[in-house]
Point group: D2
Chain length 355, copies 4
């Protein structure tokens, strides 16, 4: 892989000044590893507004102009998913490293083209799976890797709140990439999704699912379940990782206690072995072991993500959330969409996924 001289900042351009672009602009500006040269958007007024009236960063509506700048070594693409393929391909062909907002592309096939192109050229291709870089998810990954939870038995993820009903994608493609990329990120290599089913409803006549439930079979027999919902007046972002030794609860909306790790609280006991009193005690006991809430540093995930992009570029090694992880998420999304269309059929994933 092409690597970058570590002693000078990486020239970078952000493509897309819509919802996500401003966050990338802010974090690239805040990172000493990068020098932000351009914000590129077809709507230059929008781009100027994002930068504000005090900025020395260049604005352009012309992607070619940006890609022709030899000071630009890397781009970050925050345009709608439908344009990821042409924009990213152009950047790769111009020899630029590429970071793409999730999902990697509009289809698995398109994502595959990007991965192949980056491979061929020895360039970094990274997917901005932002949640993977939160202190909470990084810790969950470490805990699972270290065996602190034991074998994973079930994962239950809920990501619901009032969301803008999107014109072009359903709630699965809008929200589930977060959960699926987290799943892909934290699972030990030996445990992989092997099939997925999805059920959904279009409550409000939006023309696409606004509420959806995904069920994934994992290769170790565990189950993972994801609830995504645009119509919930209460916001919930909780995931439970049930393990053979401990169970972890991640509540992302509780900044003072995002992670709670419970000693395993249930044993298989035959009721015959128990007296009445015991039986009741077990039933009313809320949990049988202590709980530990580890201290986490509060750090913006995008800042860590941007640093990982720099690391990948500089060292020429794959990013933690590289193009292949984006591809695995796309395969899951496509299988979920097919299941949704077929009324909930369990769809097997390709060997490529489990390999």
């Amino acid at each position: 892989m092409t690597s970058h001289a570590p002693d000078e900042p990486i020239g970078v351009a952000v493509i897309g000044a819509g919802y996500w672009g401003p966050n990338l602009v802010r974090n690239f500006q805040g990172s000493p590893a990068f020098h932000l040269r351009w914000l590129c958007d077809l709507d230059v007024d929008r781009a100027r507004k994002v930068l504000g009236g005090y900025s020395t960063v260049g604005v352009s509506a012309d992607l070619d102009e940006v890609l022709a700048d030899p000071g630009v070594h890397a781009v970050a693409i925050a345009t709608p998913a439908g344009s990821h393929l042409p924009v990213a391909l152009a950047a790769l062909r111009a020899g630029k490293h590429v970071l793409v907002e999730k999902p990697l592309a509009a289809t698995f096939e398109e994502g595959r083209q990007l991965v192949d192109e980056a491979d061929r050229r020895g360039l970094t291709l990274m997917c901005d799976h932002t949640y993977c870089y939160t202190p909470a998810v990084l810790r969950i990954r470490d805990l699972l890797a270290a065996g602190e939870l034991g074998e994973l038995h079930f994962l239950d993820s809920v990501r619901i709140n009032l969301g803008l009903v999107q014109r072009d994608i359903d709630v699965v493609w809008d929200l589930a990439p977060h959960d699926l990329s987290i799943l892909d990120f934290v699972l030990p290599p030996a445990v992989r999704p092997i099939a997925v089913a999805a059920h959904g409803a279009d409550g409000i006549g939006a023309g696409r699912a606004c509420v959806a439930y995904l069920t994934l079979q994992l290769s170790n027999g565990a189950i993972a379940h994801i609830h995504v919902n645009w119509l919930s007046p209460v916001k919930v972002r909780t995931a439970i990782f049930g393990g053979s030794k401990r169970t972890l609860v991640w509540d992302d909306l509780n900044p003072s206690q995002r992670l709670s790790i419970y000693d395993r609280g249930v044993d298989v006991a035959s009721p015959e072995e128990l007296g009445d009193e015991q039986r009741r005690d077990i039933l009313v006991s809320y949990r049988s072991g202590d709980m530990v809430a580890p201290a986490l540093t509060e750090r913006e995930a995008l800042r860590t993500m941007v640093e990982e992009y720099a690391r990948a570029i500089t060292t020429g090694t794959p990013a933690l959330t590289d193009g292949r992880s984006g591809l695995r998420v796309l395969e899951l999304l496509q299988a979920a969409s097919r299941s949704l269309a077929e009324g909930g059929t369990m769809i097997k994933l390709s060997e490529g996924h489990t390999a």
Copy 2:
């Protein structure tokens, strides 16, 4: 139907002194409409312990003795589901009104026999769907009936905590009767479940599902989803009723705010119509309308249930949760079990259910 003279207390016997029986004993004793004559259990020591050392209530290990007592007009059965059929049949054949702990019976066919027998004899057959008698569920039923939520779009119910892994039944049969009976109770008559799919996992090698997800298609196109789980260290009992006009959130573990009713918070807007600023404002706005949390009286559900039993017996009219509602729940449970066994197939319900 046979009715009871309203001017004297109804003689009642509780059958079963296990987990649930003591609650029935306490509430029958507290109700002026009933006179508790017997607590019947094969284990008379257990029965005596439940009554305590200061009680004048009779104890017996012999069901026949209890049923032969002409002062007993009604029984309440809190034995394991497998014995509901013989015990309830014996009681009905002895001319007694019957209340049965959920589920009504071990199978739909057995439940059908009970309903038929009660019909034939003009006796009250009631299922103790306790949650239906909570102030919260009674209010939800009223709100839906009055159209306060508009058309129901989705229902999401979560009932998870550390539970005793049962020897004879899985988590679906243990916990989902609560959610299914509530659904049956609150849905307007025109909206009925038409199909059900279930996915589950036996995380801990218990030999039966300890985590399960049920997805129900409703006749109006809405979706209902139920998460039941014995392995969760955190206890959650929340249901969201998403309607076309308002959305209701029921959090049964928040006694000071069990019900929250939100003005509908999302509209179908094309992003093109929105400026950037607006688009972001919508996305970050947690909800666009006020919320009302109605005051609820705190009243034990079993007390209301017992009164409804008395009302049904006295007036000879069906109880709110009569045998037929118990039967509908059994059909849903059986269909869910079949789906679980078949890996999540969507199982159509009989016409009988939807009729």
Copy 3:
């Protein structure tokens, strides 16, 4: 002290069938150490209603009749505070052990008479400081005694909700006995309150304080603060015990996490020593150490309290919450009342208290 033969149940009578009496009745009935012989109330219909229609326990409106029963070895008094002195004195003079609902008496002087009388006769005098027998408070006491929190720096207790405005006492006498008895119970012997100030308000023209704040100086320089309030629509029952090593938070309304123990989270650092980045990091870090929530058994406090009463009677040793603890609470209440009347003056406590 007179002790009781441990091999037979202690005959007990409950005096007072009002708000608290039924709880005592239920717990004495449930305890094998006691045999409940009487429920005594001037209003025998009320007493009969409390016992229900199935009880063999005697009912009487005549205290003398009850005290004349040689089978009664002990009484439990749950009458209004104003009658504690005559009722308890009569019982002690009849040679009965005495348990009194909090507060021990209407005044410190009256309480002193009871303690002296019980001492003279070698009888058990115990105060029903119920909260001290909750699993949470027992654990807090152990943690403080074991030095797990280090030196206590501050205690902040909040006990607020909508309460019935009492006719005869203010919110301090109604609610603060809970907090003051807990404080008395958990503090290490070397740390004692030495002064108290109180501020309050009668928001609604009730004729007495409905909102009050108590500030206690402790002998080690620490501060304890209590907020009691009848007018709060939200119910809060939280106490923070800030120690030199760890800080403990008790949230009694969170059954799944009543106790949270935080590693001490703040150090005295001069801002000059810190860079800007550090300074901000410290400020935004919610806590710098892990938190542990110990598993607690769920057990009714009154059950443990009743067992402690039996233990004290049987062994002839003082109960954990004996008459002297009731007396110390009375001294604090009287000092708080005096401060309230004087507009918040800090009132020194007697040497007797600190001795």
Copy 4:
């Protein structure tokens, strides 16, 4: 007062690049009403770091240079409180409008000099009482003004979390300005604080109070109480406004339900009027009326504050949180400090405050 031509942006300089300065920089840059010309700090490296590497805003270590710039019409001072007087005086004497971070000055006397100087010169003097510009506090102010809560009976404010122990000021001067400025802002003009008492403790040997409680008497007989604490591992930012008609609870850490308005929930009833059953029902009823949680827009308070600064400058009318409000807060802080030093004496406020 001098007013500003409304058709051109107001040239502004931020003085101080420490903790708060960057927030002001960001919000002035985001406001079309202002043109940010300078960030001034003795440590120019720190100032450059705040602006980042892409900014056209000027940096200076020389206040005189900044004040000599005729393009600067206004300054915003975010230096330590001890330097507010000289910096603000210099700015006013240079004819600049002045915004000062809270507290207005290090002492009441210094604050008084600033108010007089601004008055003399007809310049805007505004205090950055940021919380007053949150959507929640603005709404509370409106509700109180409209009489929606009725007469205010009590206010209870809790602002506790782990905070950096300050070198130069105690927890009262660090945190209570927030609560006192909110109180000053939302109270109807006819209701004013007339006296204040304070108790505190220096748990950790920091040399100044780290935990403090303020009690304020209001002119209508109501009580206001403030708990500020640097040592609490749990973060709480809650205020209860108890009124004669309704009670409002503000929980600033609950973004989905910051405000909850409860119908008044308690009446003065003599227990004699109530049957036992009623008495208990009232006691266990968590609240007797409905609760409404009004929808609030999510808007950064500083953005609104900056707009108010522009409005005040442009119209020549006092800002909502003008110098006089800063002065009233200073008087309360000084009285609290005196009370703290005197062990909790109730300190009367000057007529000037209540006038």
